[in-house]
C-alpha cells in the first residue's frame, strides 16, 4: 500500500505542478468568467442607451401612431426610444434628410425613420449603427401597427376590435418532474448537451493523459528502474489513482469557479436583467452527484484500457494508432447519444444506458432529462463497477507484459495472447 501511495503522490505532485495543469485549471475558468462578465457588461451597457430618433412622415398622420407604439423600455426602466421631432409631409424631403444626416454625423441624433407617401412601399430607417438589431424589433412592429391601423381606418373598421380578434397566443413549455413543474426555456437541453460534451471530453482527456504518462515511463526507460522497485500492478494502480486525484482537483476548482460564475452572473442579471437566460439554468445537486459517480466509474474503465495501450506501445506514433481500441466505445457514445436525447425512456435508451461502456455518458444524460427508475441506475452502476474489475484485470495483464516489450507495435491477437501469460 505504501508503494502505491508513493506512486500516487509522485504522479499527483509532478502533474499538478505542470504548466498545462495550471493553465487548464486556473486560466480557463478565469477566461470563462472574464468573457461572461464582459458580455454581460457590454450587453447591459449598450442597452442602457436610448435611441434618439426623428420621424419624417411623407404619408401624413402616421407619426403619432408610430410614436404611440414605441413604448418599449430599456432594462433600466428608461424608454428605449426618444423621438426628438416628427416632420409631417415636408415640402422638400431631401433637404430635411440632408439636415438630419448632418445631425447624425455630428452625434446629435442616432437615426431617422422615413415613412413613405405610398404605404405599400417600405419604410426606411437611416441609422449610424445598422447592427443594433435589438432596437429594430419594436420599431418594426410600431411602424407595422401604424400602417395597418391607417388601412383599417380607411376601410372604416374599428382598430381595437381587430386587435382583440387577432391577438396571438404563445406556447409555453413546462417541464414536469418529481420535484414539481418548472418553466422550460431550453435550459434542460442546454444542460444535457453540456453534460454529454463535458463527460466525453474529460473521459477522453484523462484517459489519454494516463496513456501518455505510462508511455513516457517506457520511452525514457524509467520503467526498467521502476519495476525493480514495485510490482507492475502497484504501478498501474498508483498511476490511475494519481491521475484520478488530478482530475478530482481540477473538477473541484472548476465547480467552485462555476458556483462563483453563477452567483456573479445572477447578481449581474438582477442588476441589468441581461443575464436572465443564465439565471434560468438550474443544475440539480443530484445530477452533479450522478455525473461525478459516472465520471469516475467511466474514468477507471477507460483509463485502464488507455493504460494497457500505453504499456503495449513503444512510441507515440504506435500509441496513436492503437488507441482506437480504447477510444472506439467512447466515440460511438457520441454517435448514439441523440437517440437518448430524443426519447430518454425508450427501450433503446434504457438498454444503451445499461451497457457499461456507454453508461458513463448516457446515464447522466438520462438523469438530466428525466430521472430514470432507481433500479435502472443501480443496475447500470453495478454493471459498470463489475466491468471495471474485469477490464482492470485484463489491462493489468497486458500492462505486465507490455512494459517489458520494446519494438514493433503489437497486433490485437498478440494483445489477446498476452492475457494468457503468467
Amino acid at each position: 500500500m505504501r508503494k502505491i501511495w508513493l506512486i500516487i503522490k509522485r504522479e499527483y505532485v509532478t502533474r499538478v505542478k505542470t504548466k498545462g495543469f495550471v493553465i487548464g485549471t486556473l486560466i480557463v475558468p478565469l477566461i470563462g468568467i472574464g468573457f461572461t462578465s464582459l458580455i454581460v457588461f457590454l450587453v447591459g451597457h449598450q442597452s442602457n442607451q436610448a435611441l434618439r430618433l426623428a420621424i419624417i412622415d411623407n404619408a401624413g398622420g402616421l407619426a403619432p401612431s408610430v410614436v404611440g407604439g414605441l413604448d418599449a423600455k430599456l432594462p433600466s426602466g428608461q424608454p428605449m426610444y426618444v423621438v426628438t421631432e416628427t416632420i409631417d409631409r415636408p415640402a422638400s424631403p431631401s433637404d430635411i434628410q440632408d439636415g438630419l444626416r448632418a445631425r447624425i454625423n455630428s452625434g446629435a441624433l442616432d437615426a431617422y425613420l422615413v415613412i413613405p407617401k405610398d404605404l405599400d412601399k417600405s419604410a426606411e430607417l437611416h441609422t449610424k449603427n445598422p447592427g443594433a438589431y435589438a432596437q429594430f424589433g419594436p420599431l418594426t412592429s410600431a411602424v407595422n401597427q401604424a400602417v395597418v391601423e391607417s388601412r383599417l381606418n380607411a376601410r372604416g373598421i374599428h382598430v381595437d376590435d381587430v386587435r382583440d380578434i387577432v391577438r396571438s397566443s404563445d406556447l409555453q413549455v413546462i417541464k414536469v418532474s418529481k420535484e414539481g413543474e418548472s418553466v422550460e426555456r431550453g435550459q434542460t437541453l442546454g444542460v444535457a448537451i453540456a453534460l454529454v460534451i463535458l463527460l466525453y471530453t474529460s473521459l477522453l482527456m484523462y484517459g489519454i493523459i494516463t496513456m501518455r504518462s505510462i508511455l513516457e515511463e517506457k520511452t525514457t526507460r524509467t520503467m526498467e528502474v521502476l519495476i525493480s522497485a514495485v510490482d507492475p500492478f502497484q504501478l498501474l494502480a498508483g498511476k490511475i489513482l494519481g491521475v484520478a486525484a488530478v482530475a478530482f482537483t481540477q473538477f473541484a476548482i472548476w465547480s467552485v469557479s462555476l458556483a462563483l460564475l453563477a452567483t456573479y452572473g445572477a447578481a449581474m442579471a438582477a442588476m441589468t436583467g441581461a443575464g436572465a437566460a443564465l439565471a434560468g439554468i438550474h443544475v440539480p445537486g443530484a445530477l452533479l452527484a450522478y455525473a461525478g459517480i459516472y465520471f469516475f466509474g467511466g474514468y477507471f474503465l477507460y483509463s485502464s484500457m488507455f493504460a494497457a495501450v500505453g504499456a503495449a506501445c513503444s512510441n507515440e506514433q504506435d500509441a496513436a494508432q492503437l488507441q482506437w481500441i480504447a477510444m472506439a466505445p467512447l466515440v460511438f457514445t457520441m454517435v448514439i447519444y441523440s437517440l437518448v436525447l430524443n426519447d430518454s425512456s425508450s427501450r433503446a435508451s434504457v438498454i444503451l444506458s445499461e451497457i457499461p461502456f456507454f453508461a458513463p455518458v448516457l446515464m447522466p444524460l438520462r438523469v438530466s432529462l428525466q430521472v430514470p427508475p432507481a433500479w435502472q441506475i443501480a443496475l447500470s452502476i453495478g454493471l459498470l463497477f463489475l466491468s471495471i474489475v474485469v477490464v482492470i484485470y485484463c489491462s493489468a495483464k497486458i500492462y505486465r507484459v507490455g512494459i517489458l516489450m520494446y519494438g514493433k507495435r503489437p497486433t490485437l491477437p498478440e494483445l489477446v495472447r498476452w492475457l494468457r501469460y503468467s
Partner: protein, 298 residues
C-alpha cells in the same frame, strides 16, 4: 545460505526458450560476473531474480527465501537500458526511488545528500534530470540502485558512459560494498573488468549456463597454453605447426598453442629464425579468449 540460488530455471516466450535449465549459486559476499553474448538470456535471468518475470519451471531463492515482493527490496538493480523521469529534480527523484525501496523519506533524503556529495553532484541536486549530462545521469542511476543499501546488487554495464575518474569511483564503491558484506552481480561485456573485479563467473549462452565457478580455478583449468612474445626481426616462426592462433598487439604477439604443444619449440624456432626476443612469457588464457571459445563452440 547462498545470496541467490537458481535451480533448473526455465523460461520461454511463445516458441522461444530464453532460459533453459539454468543452475546458479552465488555465495554471499561474492562478486559474480554474469557473462554471455547478446540475447543469451542474461536479462531474463536477472528479471526472474527481481520477480519481474516468473519462471516456467525451477525455483529461485533470494537469501534463502522464494522470490516475492519482499525479496525484491533486498536487491538493488541497475538495468542496462535505463532512464529516469526527465523532468524530475535530481534529489527528489533519488528520494522517490529510495522510498519505493522501503526507506523513510527523511532517511532517504539524508543519504541522497551524502551520495550526491560523494559523486560531486551536490550543486545539481535541484536541477532536472534532463539538464544533466549523460555521465551525470549515469551517476544518479547508480545512486538509485544502491542508496537503500541492499544486501544484493545487480549491476548491468555499470561503467558505460562514465569517464575513467567516475568509473574508478563506481569501482571503489562496489568493492566497498563487497567488503561490507554485499553480494554483487556484475553483468558486462568488458572482460578486463570482470578479470579485475570478480571472484567467480557464470557464462550463459543460448539460455544455458555453459561455464560457471571460481574465476581463478577456471583459468587454471585451461593451463598455461598461451605464450606472449615481444621481439624484433622476422616473424616467420609464428607459422610453427604447434601454434593454433596468433593475436597481434602493438608491442608483441600472443600465440595460442595446440593442446600438448611444447612452448620451448616455439622459442627455439624464433631464435633460429633470427628474431631478437625481449620477452617470452607463458600465460593463462584471457577471459576474452575463454568467452570466445565457449560461445563459438556452443
Amino acid at each position: 545460505m547462498d545470496a541467490i540460488a537458481l535451480e533448473n530455471v526455465t523460461k520461454s516466450y511463445d516458441s522461444v526458450t530464453a532460459v533453459s535449465g539454468v543452475n546458479l549459486r552465488v555465495r554471499q559476499g561474492a562478486v559474480l560476473g554474469l557473462l554471455g553474448p547478446n540475447g543469451a538470456g542474461k536479462t531474463t535471468t536477472i528479471r526472474m531474480v527481481m520477480n519481474i518475470l516468473v519462471p516456467d519451471e525451477g525455483s529461485i531463492l533470494v537469501l534463502g527465501q522464494p522470490v516475492s515482493d519482499k525479496t525484491r527490496d533486498s536487491v538493488g538493480y541497475l538495468p542496462e537500458e535505463r532512464g529516469l523521469y526527465p523532468r524530475m529534480k535530481v534529489r527528489s527523484l533519488i528520494v522517490f526511488f529510495a522510498a519505493l525501496h522501503g526507506l523513510s523519506e527523511d532517511e532517504a533524503d539524508r543519504r541522497a545528500r551524502e551520495w550526491l556529495e560523494r559523486f560531486e553532484l551536490s550543486e545539481w541536486s535541484e536541477k532536472k534530470m534532463v539538464d544533466l549530462s549523460k555521465g551525470m545521469q549515469q551517476k544518479v542511476q547508480f545512486i538509485t540502485a544502491v542508496l537503500h543499501r541492499p544486501p544484493i546488487v545487480i549491476l548491468d554495464e555499470p561503467f558505460s558512459g562514465l569517464d575513467p575518474v567516475n568509473a574508478a569511483t563506481v569501482k571503489d564503491i562496489m568493492l566497498e560494498m563487497r567488503d561490507q558484506g554485499s553480494t554483487i552481480i556484475l553483468s558486462t561485456h568488458r572482460m578486463e573488468q570482470v578479470e579485475k573485479m570478480c571472484d567467480s563467473i557464470c557464462l550463459i549462452n543460448h539460455g544455458r549456463s555453459v561455464l560457471d565457478g571460481d574465476l581463478r580455478a577456471i583459468k587454471q583449468s585451461y593451463g598455461k597454453n598461451t605464450v606472449h612474445v615481444e621481439f624484433t626481426g622476422p616473424d616467420s616462426f609464428l607459422t610453427h605447426p604447434a601454434i593454433a592462433a596468433v593475436d597481434r598487439f602493438a608491442t608483441g604477439v600472443e600465440a595460442k598453442l595446440k593442446p600438448g604443444a611444447d612452448p620451448q619449440e616455439i622459442l627455439k624456432a624464433a631464435v633460429q629464425a633470427g628474431a631478437q626476443i625481449t620477452r617470452f612469457e607463458l600465460l593463462e588464457p584471457s577471459l576474452n579468449e575463454i568467452f570466445i571459445e565457449k560461445t563459438a563452440r556452443a
